[in-house]
């Protein structure tokens, strides 16, 4: 799909900063300005920010994806899921005349579930985006970050696991070409016992592209029975491409299961030769292996529409 075109899927489309009132399913979408009047307990008066409150009331389950176009210079999206609410959010960064600064806050009340997909397919602009997630007990957050556009993109996700039995699965693929620079910083804080988290990121860098992955898991002293997994693997397709990866664990609790790992490598000559020896052209063989490399995070996407959307935009 070309840059700038609308994603082709059955969804509610939202332009950042516009008020939409209440949707038939019960979802409420307001501009931050309107939200500050109606829900002062949730939103403080915004200062020079374009943004939205997306509020999913108690037990409201919105299966149809909500697509948000984040194209103002300063965006602020606040997503609040009340008890036992469900939402599926796609943030589409597709075009803008300016550099973009974006903050997305996601608050999940007990039993709420949120699936989150970011598609970053900007043309030349610079992007700095933060996603801050706060999860209460028995919540599930699943996020996939696809980064392939922008000359310089910095993406930060931080998740606070504040309630027991919360689960967070963060994954993503970044593809750099030309002189692109992609940075991802991923922080997961296990503040209480019995939570699960995973980080699964793959990077593919060609030409002179540069990638950075800073992943951190912090397990506080009382957060026993934590399970945390972290994996970042990277593929360099050119001898000029560069990758810096830093998977870190800080564990202050006993009785936890934590794993982490990172690799930086190249396409395997033996695999390429095997495919070529069966008549497959070099470029196609390379594509097959690159697609294979991205398989693991993509198959981890549990929402079928998200997965499809991702595959179409890889």
């Amino acid at each position: 799909m070309s840059e700038g075109s609308q994603l082709k899927l059955d969804a509610h489309f939202i332009n950042c900063g516009q008020s939409y009132g209440q949707f038939p399913e019960g979802l409420i979408v307001l501009s931050l300005l309107d939200a500050a009047k109606t829900y002062p307990e949730l939103v403080a008066a915004p200062e020079n920010l374009t943004g939205n409150l997306i509020y999913v009331p108690q037990q409201v389950k919105i299966e149809k994806p909500i697509v948000i176009y984040n194209h103002a210079a300063h965006n602020h999206i606040l997503i609040v899921c009340d008890n036992d609410a469900v939402i599926n959010i796609i943030e589409d960064f597709t075009s803008s005349s300016d550099d973009i600064h974006n903050v997305t806050e996601i608050k999940l009340a007990p039993l709420a579930r949120c699936k989150h997909l970011v598609i970053q397919r900007l043309a030349a602009e610079k992007l700095h985006s933060q996603v801050r997630v706060e999860q209460q007990n028995n919540t599930i957050f699943e996020s996939f970050l696809l980064q392939k556009g922008s000359s310089l993109s910095e993406f930060e996700i931080s998740v606070n696991l504040c309630g027991e039995n919360a689960q967070t699965n963060l994954s993503g693929v970044f593809r750099g070409n030309g002189k692109q620079i992609h940075k991802q910083t991923v922080n997961v804080n296990h503040l209480v016992p019995n939570c699960h988290s995973s980080q699964l990121f793959r990077g593919i860098l060609d030409n002179h592209a540069q990638g950075f992955f800073y992943g951190e898991v912090e397990v506080l002293k009382n957060a026993i029975k934590t399970q945390a997994h972290q994996s970042n693997k990277n593929l360099l397709l050119s001898k000029y491409a560069q990758m810096t990866t830093c998977p870190q664990l800080q564990i202050y609790a006993d009785d936890v299961i934590c794993t982490h790992g990172a690799t930086v490598g190249q396409l395997e000559d033996d695999a390429l030769f095997y495919l070529q020896s069966r008549g497959i052209e070099y470029a196609d063989a390379k594509n097959l292996l690159v697609e294979a490399f991205m398989q693991e995070p993509i198959t981890s996407i549990t929402n079928g529409i998200f997965k499809q959307c991702c595959l179409e935009n890889l």
Partner: protein
């Protein structure tokens, strides 16, 4: 069909082939036997264009084309096929997608009709049945977690699907039990016709009971030191390679 003339080749500083001459005509099956390290696998890989080896002298002609400068994929498209001694595992690529990409790439290059997903499925199912490979293997990643025998079966499915004019089987019998060997040999024999040819690289006479060769060559020290008909294989089985190597020295 295939003419190898005075072929010398090395990998790094090590010379492996030291003057190979071999002519293969349509409809023929040639067995290449020889001790470990004699250059059998090197010859097989060089024929299909493995980039790690350098040809320092001689040439390879296939159906009138000088193969020097041909990429591995161009050679496959011309009708050359190597059944690998150690097939590569490729996680993340399903066998069926790979097979379809390969079959259609070769067909396209040969100016033949490509197969859509539905036609391909019935096409490939038939090939699986010829060598008794369970269809579930089509949906697994290429060779990932396959046993030695399953990998060899998968090589044979690829061979039957690509319909090569010259198939090289590099120790396809190693790691196979006797029943699997019979099934695979039956599959291989389905490919035999007056228009194509086969090179069977093996250590043992056993496979040649099922795939009968017209010619047997013994490769030692990077050269073919003796050629004969299938009775040579039986003689080797009885006397070992030492017999020929000592004759060589005299």
């Amino acid at each position: 069909m295939l003419i190898v003339e005075d072929l010398y080749a090395n990998i790094g500083s090590q010379e492996i082939l030291k003057g190979i001459n071999l002519t293969i005509g349509a409809g023929e099956v040639h067995a290449i036997m020889g001790p470990n390290g004699s250059g059998k696998s090197t010859l097989s890989k060089i024929l299909v264009g493995h980039p790690a080896y350098n040809i320092t002298r001689g040439k390879i002609t296939f159906n009138g084309e000088d193969l020097s400068g041909f990429s591995p994929e161009e050679r496959a498209q011309l009708g050359l096929f190597l059944s690998f001694q150690y097939p590569v595992e490729i996680p993340g690529v399903t066998n069926i997608n790979f097979l379809r990409a390969a079959v259609n790439a070769v067909r396209k290059a040969q100016g033949r009709q490509t197969l859509d997903a539905i036609d391909f499925l019935s096409f490939i199912r038939e090939k699986c049945s010829f060598i008794a490979m369970d269809e579930s293997f089509l949906y697994r990643n290429i060779n990932e977690g396959f046993s030695g025998g399953e990998k060899k079966r998968n090589e044979m499915v690829q061979m039957l699907a690509l319909e090569p004019t010259l198939a090289i089987l590099d120790e396809t019998d190693s790691g196979l039990d006797i029943d699997a060997l019979k099934t695979i040999a039956e599959g291989v024999n389905k490919l035999r016709n007056p228009h194509n040819a086969m090179i069977v690289v093996t250590h043992y006479q056993r496979l040649l009971n099922y795939i009968e060769p017209d010619y047997v060559h013994v490769l030692a020290g990077g050269r073919i030191i003796k050629s004969g008909d299938k009775s040579l294989a039986l003689e080797l089985e009885e006397k070992g390679y030492g017999w020929l190597e000592s004759l060589e020295k005299v």
